[in-house]
Symmetry: C2
Subunit: 423 residues, 2 copies
């Protein structure tokens, strides 16, 4: 740890002492640091997260650890991910607007810590969905967030020089990319050491791991993920990276940010709604989730629709980068040419996002990092039934992604699988 | 020019004085620098190239200029391209083997100069093809060069960490990428200032620039070029970047090197043979070029065949990167899965290379940087007829690239266009 000699992990006891002089904190909490209350609430896989409350207000202090918290010190992970998270948050706020991510108050690179807005009474979206809450704004807010960050971070909007410099900056986020590359695209498809799954799934898991078409397509998606550097991704855009209230939606935790394919963020996001859909049967003991199922499929459909509309709007009004230049289309009286190109881009994005959605579903059930949606289903047989449906759905998406035309078709497939396997 | 304060362009008069103390040169030429003979032979668009001969031997000194030589000081171009050329040469030699590129004797970053092997009696391949020389080795040598550099520079072979670091390094080659991005993919398709074409082509040029499908596809290819960073490309792999004898083939001038799609190098290379094919009628006054035409199409077909064979061999023996890991295939007794994936990669590469070949043909006839193949045809009407055939051929490739199955089909199309328009 010599190269992190100055790094020192915060504790609830030391935080006020160590950060008591920080203007960004004092301003929000009040100067009497002896009155600050500190709680550690990090329930994620990687970091320390403190909520600090003082007489005037509150803030969050997020600090990276030099290893994977979920696994322990045996799996080192560089503190530099905090640097990438900070730079991603700054760009996301600029591109998606204030209030789309937590406000940033302070960044300390050596201590790998970010002081940011305390979101309250926000809850993690995944938790809300498990509870059966139908949040009214998420389809719209997340559709806009994805369209704006993905479009404005690409050569559709930026100058080539600016994007290439940023690409080089984020190319340093190797270890976090490595996690995705292995845990999402490869490990789930063979007996990797860190994998686990609900035992009753054994026969289906064996079937999937012997499924040549599935494995080849998953690797083609990995190739696309690794090679296509078209935009700055969030990189981990699932329902655990989103905090919500009835009227606010914030995207958090972009430490996996790097330049990758647009479809990855959108695919992962939709996958998490589809997983929530298949997990609802596991949470039905407290009452029917029929309405919730409808809400989730509507959310997917609305989100994709908002994304398309916003992306198309940006295409028509902010296409200032070097790709599909208006000098070839609008300025030559050929606006339809630009529309044809837009259809092409959205069509590719659609096909790829279905693939990424499928592998995201598989890795959450077969790999290392599982989802609370399924994990909180105590009845193991019931959980396995929910997971099996999701696995079959994911397999269909990965292998057939170039032959599926609409989101309604995918939602129809989800309904079919849900009903068939319940009968 | 303040930031290049120490840079000073060499001249034939100053070279021996300034580089006389350089061990790399003294060793090859002999210590008596007053006996060195210096000639400037740069006929390219960008740089100074000196041949220095002494009592013991000879060497080449290539120096970048801080502007585009073809255009003048009004178009500045960073000296740093010499840095990228040097680093690309080192990697190409490691990947394709000694003797595939000129040996490097010395690199001076501040003076943007590379001292390298003097290739003699080599000539530029393009010149040889214009003269109607049927070089026996190029299909094999270039097929191997492309397969080895493209495969071994990608995530199929390298570690992800190493490739991402290298990607970041070459992301600095912004200005040279910018030249390709604009001059290859966009300018030819509208009335850009620097464009020129043989006047008799006016009606066809107007038709192509009004061709919506062509423009949209050219921009999709630009999107692929800009976004897909799968391997270290040569970046300018045409017949003017290759030096040959009957039994030696060397690839030179990789200053456009950057991480891009494999298909770009292969597509540009094949395009230049097809252009040579269509230009042969313009050089027929000294004798029939029927045999030469056959040779050129055979070269295309053999090159692609050698490329496929070598790429497939490397796939089976050196697939040590993170993509298509053998832990999913061979190690599970599923070698056919790896073959299925290989077919997928080669199929995409094939479709994309046809597109890149098409735009390369267009930009060489409609853009700024033309080819001697056509330019040396003095009879303007004859030249226009040759160029028109190539333009139609290129349009077909760009728009129909996903529906063309084999190289024989493409060569058949070339023959058809050649015959039809001669009739």
């Amino acid at each position: 740890m010599a190269k992190h000699a100055s790094f020192d992990a915060l504790t609830t006891e030391t935080l006020a002492l160590r950060l008591g002089g920080l203007e960004a904190l004092v301003e929000r909490l009040g100067p009497d640091r002896s009155a600050w209350k500190v709680r550690e609430v990090g329930d994620g896989n990687l970091n320390l997260v403190f909520i600090v409350e003082g007489p005037k207000g509150a803030a969050v202090v997020k600090q990276a650890l030099p290893y994977v918290r979920l696994v322990g010190e045996s799996w080192p992970l560089p503190l530099k991910r905090s640097f990438f998270e900070y730079h991603a948050l700054v760009r996301q706020e600029a591109r998606a607007g204030k209030g789309s991510v937590p406000a940033i108050y302070h960044f300390d690179e050596a201590q790998a810590l970010i002081v940011m807005e305390y979101l309250s009474p926000h809850v993690i979206l995944r938790k809300a969905l498990i509870e059966g809450r139908e949040l009214p704004r998420i389809a719209n807010d997340l559709g806009l967030f994805a369209a704006r960050t993905l479009f404005r971070g690409s050569d559709l909007h930026m100058t080539a020089r600016e994007r290439k410099a940023d690409l080089a900056l984020f190319a340093g986020n190797v270890e976090l990319c490595d996690i995705t590359e292995n845990l999402v695209f490869t490990d789930p498809y063979f007996e990797a050491e860190l994998n686990r799954h609900t035992p009753a799934l054994d026969p289906l898991v064996a079937e999937l791991r012997a499924d040549r078409d599935l494995k080849v397509e998953a690797q083609r998606l990995k190739h696309l993920f690794a090679a296509n550097a078209e935009t700055l991704l969030h990189g981990d855009l699932h329902t655990g990276s989103i905090m919500v209230t009835e009227d606010d939606t914030r995207v958090i935790d972009p430490e996996f940010a790097f330049y990758g394919p647009m479809a990855f963020d959108v695919g992962m996001l939709l996958a998490n709604f589809w997983m929530s859909f298949f997990s609802q049967a596991g949470h039905e003991q407290e009452g029917s989730r029929a309405s919730m199922r409808g809400y989730l499929l509507r959310t997917v459909s609305d989100l994709w629709s908002v994304f398309r509309a916003e992306f198309s709007w940006l295409w028509r009004t902010e296409r200032t980068g070097m790709l599909y230049a208006d000098s070839l289309f609008e300025k030559r009286g050929d606006a339809l040419g630009a529309e044809q190109a837009l259809d092409g881009v959205l069509h590719s994005l659609w096909q790829d996002l279905l693939g990424f959605a499928g592998v995201e579903i598989h890795r959450r059930i077969l790999g290392l990092a599982h989802n609370a949606d399924f994990e909180t289903i105590a009845d193991e047989a019931l959980r396995a039934r929910c997971e099996a449906k999701a696995l079959r759905f994911g397999r269909h998406l990965v292998v057939n992604r170039c032959r599926i035309h609409s989101v309604d078709e995918v939602n129809g497939l989800a309904l079919l699988i849900e009903k068939e396997t319940r009968a």
